[in-house]
Symmetry: C2
């Protein structure tokens, strides 16, 4: 596609702004329209968006003319202005989606809101526009009930924050057209991201199902008095975090099985795995590790008493470093 | 402690060799004794150990005299020889542990083997030597049954491979002396590692309990036909892997709750978390996701049909890069 994209972002919360930053920085020709009902939309976005941009974004950073920090700052300022000049602000849905090639929704997590939204989008957006919801839980099949063409809608679920995290879970509904899926995957691949298409809709999609399974075990181990929240986090950042940044669990455990692969791994340490699974189940039952169970207030208190406010800039810088390390090394 | 350490390594498998490499490279004065029953012990270790050493280990790498690759190679060769000269090989347990300051065991994962080993170690090692088991599942309280002084023993469980991964789970038994725990923690901290002391012995310790909980969910999602093994791994390396390399699950989800912290996070998306946990439990029951269940052969086949042999050098290089990125950035 050689005509520039015009991407309509519906909802200027943290996910919306993060996507705005991602689009503007990964596609030098696209235009981005933002629709949100907040009255101070433009000033709010202009003030907040820089938090989502890397420090040197768009500065044509070259080591050899790095000498003059003033000039460098000017260049950065200029590049940032150029970036922001491709933004437009809209107080109505209609004007935001008119002429859009992509409409990307991250409004309230309410089936009623989303179900009412899409027919309006259909009415005003071009027929060829891709329609994406960033929902973390309401499947396309539920959102598209009032649409004329449910085939157009799919879920593009990011891992927060999307301007950093490569993953996008692409979750078509049973009615979603294959062509819509393919164009969506091509779009993200061309921008160096990791779109993963799920075979079917499921509760929580894949990333949260995996992460919440580990979270449950983490809560259970803290509730059982085995480990403190700080030490539990130290376990993760000192072991499976860096491991899984480089290779996923299946590839890693397959490697652990040597020649015999994942089947060999399960053969060799299956007894231990089974013991762990049984013990976890027993602990969940014994300690009531379900949402709202007796463990919850104590663990929340312990966690909130442990960690100070997060240094977002620092965390993002480290995250970029991790992603670079994984990409660059051979 | 100013006298050099003399560390006796019992068992020259992959964990043993990885620890040998770790000790030799992080402590320039220590001596390492290896005891193993294999007849070709010395030639085997000399041939295998380089795989556990970083490419430029001990080469006094300076950018400014990097010009001559031949000289650099010579220097590396020399440094490596110096490293290996601090190794000694033993065909008897007695000679390996005599004079040791630390005895570190990674023999067969058999309670009988370990229970029989420690009284022999007690007999021949100095009374002040620290006694560590690398077991991934047999607690100190079980291993120390025949010891004169069970207070001396604790588990120091690495995350494979220990020459790369910072985590060491320190698991004292009820009988382990506090002083033994403290000396062990000091030892690892001084070497820039992440020792985490568990409050009590538990099945699988913490790292494997967490990782296996996620693995179970991964197996279940593949068995349910939601996602392929390759895509599941892509989800992890594109999202929670890099996130958890930088900050653990508790700190991350607390940040997700904003001002209201982890309690706010659970308040805000607790319903979704609860739905995921219930759905997972239902899937485990429906698909029989226990060890040896009906899901297992299909998932093993799918995983082993997906991934080729692992490029250990490449993976290790990336892992070092990830750990550097997390350490260096502010």
């Amino acid at each position: 596609m050689t005509t520039p994209h015009k991407i309509a972002i519906i909802g200027a919360g943290t996910i919306g702004l993060s996507f705005v930053a991602l689009h503007l920085t990964t596609d030098p020709t696209c235009e981005v329209s933002i629709y949100d009902t907040r009255p101070d939309l433009e000033s709010y976005v202009r003030a907040s968006l820089p938090d989502y941009l890397p420090d040197s974004e768009g500065s044509n950073d070259n080591d050899d003319d790095d000498d003059d920090p003033e000039k460098k700052k000017d260049r950065e300022q200029e590049a940032r202005s150029a970036l922001l000049s491709r933004l437009a602000f809209h107080a109505t849905l209609r004007s935001a989606v008119e002429g859009a090639t992509i409409v990307q929704e991250q409004g309230p997590e309410s089936a009623a809101f989303k179900t009412a939204l899409w027919p309006q989008v259909e009415q005003h957006a071009p027929a060829a526009a891709l329609l994406w919801s960033s929902t973390s839980g309401i499947p396309a099949s539920a959102q598209s009930r009032a649409m004329r063409e449910p085939a157009r809608l799919l879920v593009v679920h990011p891992y927060n924050p999307p301007h950093l995290m490569p993953l996008l879970e692409i979750v078509p509904g049973p009615a979603t057209a294959r062509d819509v899926v393919e164009r969506t995957v091509r779009f993200w691949r061309a921008r160096g991201r990791t779109p993963v298409v799920l075979e079917k809709e499921c509760v929580g999609f894949v990333a949260n199902r995996l992460a919440f399974a580990l979270l449950r075990e983490a809560c259970s181990l803290v509730a059982a008095g085995v480990v403190s929240p700080r030490d539990l986090d130290a376990v993760v950042t000192g072991s499976m975090g860096p491991r899984w940044a480089v290779a996923g669990p299946f590839e890693s455990y397959k490697a652990g099985g040597g020649e015999a692969g994942f089947a060999g791994f399960m053969e060799k340490i299956g007894a231990t795995v089974g013991e762990c699974w049984r013990e976890s189940e027993g602990d969940y039952a014994r300690l009531g590790v379900h949402v709202g169970g007796p463990w919850q207030s104590g663990v929340c208190e312990a966690v909130d008493g442990t960690f100070g406010p997060v240094d977002v800039r620092g965390r993002d810088r480290k995250t970029r470093g991790v992603l670079e390390a994984v990409k660059d090394a051979i």
